[in-house]
């Protein structure tokens, strides 16, 4: 349940339970559904979803609820009759007046709030893991992305001592070059991370290294931002093309090290 606002979900479930218990009518259920979804889209996620997306979802929800309400003549009557009574019957005169005042006030408030939203820099979507090219050239050597693998990975089985040396070299490379952005603990939170947009990758995240092949990571290390396709907004990314600074061996070693440090393994070759 990470990523959701649990107290809100529990509260909504409690209200729903109360409605079942009180045998609420269809109109109440419709109003509740709409309100609950509005609250869910707006406050339900720990990382807020974009306003535009929430608006689309809510629009679809509204349409669905209207379709449901008008799906049969009986249901339409069931939904509209409380409204008709509210409007017609003299004993509801006061609530009706309150509603007539409240709704325009709400609309006015909404427009006012919309006009006073603090200005924001325009935001653009960005592919986080854009599709890699079929082959890359690093230090003059061409690699087939589909088949290339870390040339030292097999040492893990064949020669553990040599493997440890490559790991240690990778550790040196990482802490001489990478941690300013990707962080000491590899959480993407290095001392320069706050000044960079897009933010540096978080290697602790189970949705990053494990879903990438070692060759993909090598591509990102060796060719950096300048090697990204346009969808990855290469003009914004501070990832250097490390082939300018590091040998091929150093780049494969640091590749080994970041997987090892986080206890992940690269996605296997040919696995899609």
């Amino acid at each position: 349940m990470d990523g959701f606002n649990l107290p809100l979900l529990l509260a909504l479930a409690a209200v729903a339970g109360a409605l079942v218990w009180r045998r609420a009518n269809t109109l109440t259920w419709l109003l509740f559904s709409w309100g609950a979804l509005w609250a869910f889209f707006k406050f339900g996620f720990t990382v807020p979803i974009p306003q535009s997306v929430a608006t689309i979802y809510l629009g679809i929800t509204t349409l669905a609820l209207v379709c449901f309400a008008s799906s049969s003549r009986e249901r339409l009557e069931e939904v509209t009759s409380p409204i008709v009574r509210l409007i017609r019957e003299p004993r509801y005169r006061l609530p009706l007046a309150a509603l007539l005042v409240a709704l325009p006030a709400l609309a006015a408030y909404n427009v006012h709030a919309d006009m006073n939203v603090p200005l924001e820099a325009p935001g653009f979507g960005r592919e986080v893991h854009p599709a890699p090219p079929t082959e890359i050239t690093v230090h003059g050597e061409t690699l087939d992305m589909a088949t290339a693998d870390n040339p030292y990975i097999h040492l893990h089985e064949d020669d553990p001592a040599a493997y440890e040396e490559h790991l240690e070299n990778g550790r040196r490379v990482y802490y001489e070059n990478c941690f300013w952005c990707h962080g000491d603990g590899m959480g993407g939170d290095g001392m320069f991370a706050h000044g960079l947009n897009p933010a540096p990758s978080n290697f602790n995240d189970g949705g990053t290294l494990p879903i990438l092949q070692a060759s993909f990571v090598h591509w990102r290390i060796a060719l950096g931002a300048p090697g990204l396709p346009a969808g990855g907004t290469p003009w914004d990314s501070a990832m250097p093309a490390w082939e300018k600074f590091l040998t091929t061996e150093e780049m494969w070693d640091v590749n080994l090290f970041i997987y090892d440090f986080n206890g992940f393994e690269p996605r296997a070759l040919g696995q899609h």
């Binding site: 409204i83 006015a108 924001e120 820099a121």
Partner: protein
């Protein structure tokens, strides 16, 4: 603690029960207890705990602090301040008196929270037990932790005084009397006359705290943190303890004064400058009118970080943020930027295309510092021939064998060692001047397209314009960048600038015509990408060795602002009209039905059953 212990012992012995023998026992117990707290402080953990701590240390700490705890890890050469050398037993941030060892809680805090704006992060991923163990292991690096005499009781930190005007002005008097300004500067921007000369007891230059930027305080931003620093000093640095020379109350007033210098606990970094419209002309030569123009323009602070993507990397930039504002009128647009700098370096050279030898970033990697300084002086002579930033980029490139970033250049890393091995800021000082640049794309991408030039001085397809000011000359020069190694002077647009340095703060105000044929034009309601570079000559920053920002935006606010009243009223009346219409229709239909049908239907409707 000791006295506390005795009083508890006494309290548990009612006077009536105090015969001679129990009294002797009580005395012995009290004597034991009196030494017990000191003994208890020497807590080096068990062998298992230290071994478990070593595992944590080797994974997370050794790369900076060294596998042997001597502060010599892989990263050490490229960070400032340098990682703590645990073998010295000296710690800056403690609750214990000057010269004493820190408590375990002090160490725990440094590990959990980290030291802001240094390479020491907080470690929220470590468990409490892991931190305990790693503290035991860290303590094992210095024999001082075995010596009970090096332990001191944590100081008392009284609740802070309210920041009244009297308290702050008393604090200001203390600030002056104690000579704080000689290092921290008159208004606390870390620009005192001694600031450039400060070193720690290992001889490493240290950057003094900028008291106006509380979020960068290594020891924390609260009044309690500030009081603690006054009262304990920072071991191994020139920051003394005032525990003996200042009364508690004066330290509290000083806290309030220092606190009043800051802008807040949080830098409040923004992403957008709002350029406001003005009717008045923008006259750079009329300082008062210019200040009045900018007085109403919102100020945005942007983070700056080191340029580490291209050769000439800067791992420890001096300047960590810049503030910016913008104003425009019918024809012109003006930008004002401000940042703090511990010294105005206005005699050296600088330029966005100046070459920086490989390895210049390293604190003396591959050669000792003295050689480096000597060589730096030599190379200074070479540079001198080019007459500063006026030198065409091409000439600089020729000298250094091409700005190309291929293997040849880096293969020559050893040459780099010979050049600027460890030339230090403090020694030469005036070799490089302070400088600043605004960066804009030369044209906007199509609407909706995220396309921008590469934020590091542009790329071959998408150039940038740089409004560069070398603060030695204080005038703006324009450069066009097509990549870090392709930055050349351009005369496309005339950009004017005025500069001033006041109490540790640089202010640079630029002005240009809003429209341009060669570069970017600033139309109303336009979002224009903008980025910043700052060079601190004192830190030997020049060329690509600079502090920089990502792309941000400047938004030219419409000159005529729409008032909210009309749309708000419109929305309210529209909703009201719809409501009234619905009410009217429902009631009319009901009336028609009542008139045209029998009363039974009405009764059914009133009962809430479906009426057909």
């Amino acid at each position: 603690m000791a006295r506390h212990g005795i009083s508890i012992t006494a309290a548990h012995h009612p006077p009536a029960a105090c015969s001679a023998a129990p009294r002797a026992v009580a005395a012995a117990v009290a004597a034991l207890l009196a030494t017990a707290p000191l003994m208890a402080q020497v807590d080096l953990g068990t062998e298992e705990q230290r071994a478990a701590g070593k595992v944590v240390y080797d994974k997370y700490c050794g790369q900076c602090h060294g596998d042997d705890g001597d502060g010599n890890g892989y990263a050490t050469l490229r960070v400032k301040p340098k990682p703590r050398d645990f073998t010295t037993g000296k710690y800056k941030f403690r609750t214990t008196p000057n010269g004493m060892l820190p408590t375990d809680d002090d160490l725990r805090r440094a590990i959990e929270v980290g030291l802001p704006y240094t390479s020491m992060p907080g470690w929220p991923n470590l468990t409490s037990a892991e931190i305990d163990n790693v503290i035991y292991y860290i303590k094992s690096f210095s024999p001082d932790f075995e010596n009970p005499d090096r332990y001191g009781e944590p100081i008392d930190i009284p609740p802070p005084l309210e920041s009244t005007e009297e308290s702050i002005s008393r604090g200001r008097v203390v600030y002056e009397e104690q000579g704080c300004a000689s290092c921290h500067g008159e208004v606390g921007r870390g620009d005192g006359p001694s600031a450039p000369t400060l070193v720690n007891d290992k001889g490493d230059p240290i950057k003094i705290a900028d008291l106006t930027q509380r979020w960068t305080y290594r020891g924390g931003p609260t009044k309690e943190d500030i009081y603690r620093t006054f009262s304990t000093g920072l071991n191994g640095t020139p920051m003394p303890s005032y525990a003996d020379s200042l009364e508690v109350e004066d330290r509290q007033h000083l806290v309030n004064y220092v606190y009043s210098l800051g802008d807040g606990d949080d830098p409040g970094y923004g992403t957008l400058i709002t350029a406001v419209h003005a009717e008045e002309p923008i006259d750079l030569q009329n300082g008062d009118a210019l200040d009045a123009l900018f007085a109403d323009a919102p100020m945005t602070r942007f983070p700056l970080v080191g340029q580490i993507s291209e050769p000439g990397r800067n791992f420890y930039p001096s300047v960590t943020s810049i503030e910016a504002q913008a104003v425009y009128n019918r024809d012109e647009i003006a930008f004002r930027v401000r940042w703090n700098d511990l010294r105005a370096d206005t005699t050296g050279r600088n330029g966005p295309s100046m070459d920086v030898p490989m390895w210049d970033e390293d604190n003396g990697i591959g050669g000792d510092a003295e050689d480096g300084a000597e060589d730096a002086a030599d190379s200074g002579d070479f540079f001198g021939d080019f007459g500063g930033e006026e030198a065409p980029a091409a000439a600089e490139d020729d000298f250094f064998g091409g700005g190309d970033t291929g293997d040849d250049f880096f293969g020559g890393g050893d040459d780099g060692d010979d050049f600027f091995g460890g030339g230090d800021a403090g020694s030469g000082g005036a070799e490089f001047s302070d400088a600043v640049a605004l960066q804009f794309p030369i044209s906007l991408a199509e609407a909706g397209s995220p396309l921008k030039p590469y934020f590091l001085f542009g790329d071959s397809q998408n150039p940038v314009d740089l409004w560069f000011v070398n603060l030695t000359y204080g005038v703006a020069d324009t450069f066009r960048g097509r990549g870090s190694d392709q930055v050349v002077p351009t005369e496309a647009d005339i950009v004017e600038a005025v500069t001033s340095y006041d109490q540790g703060e640089w202010t640079v105000t630029y002005k240009r015509r809003r429209s341009s044929r060669a570069g970017i034009s600033f139309a109303e309601q336009q979002y224009t990408p903008i980025a910043f570079s700052v060079w601190d000559g004192f830190n030997r920053e020049r060329g690509n060795k600079r502090a920089l920002s990502s792309w941000f935006y400047v938004y030219t606010e419409p000159s005529v602002q729409q008032a909210a009243t009309l749309p708000v009223l419109r929305a309210a009346f529209l909703v009201l009209a719809i409501e009234l219409l619905v009410v009217f229709l429902v009631r009319r239909r009901a009336r028609q039905r009542a008139a045209g049908s029998d009363t039974a239907a009405d009764a059914v409707a009133a009962a809430g059953a479906p009426a057909v």
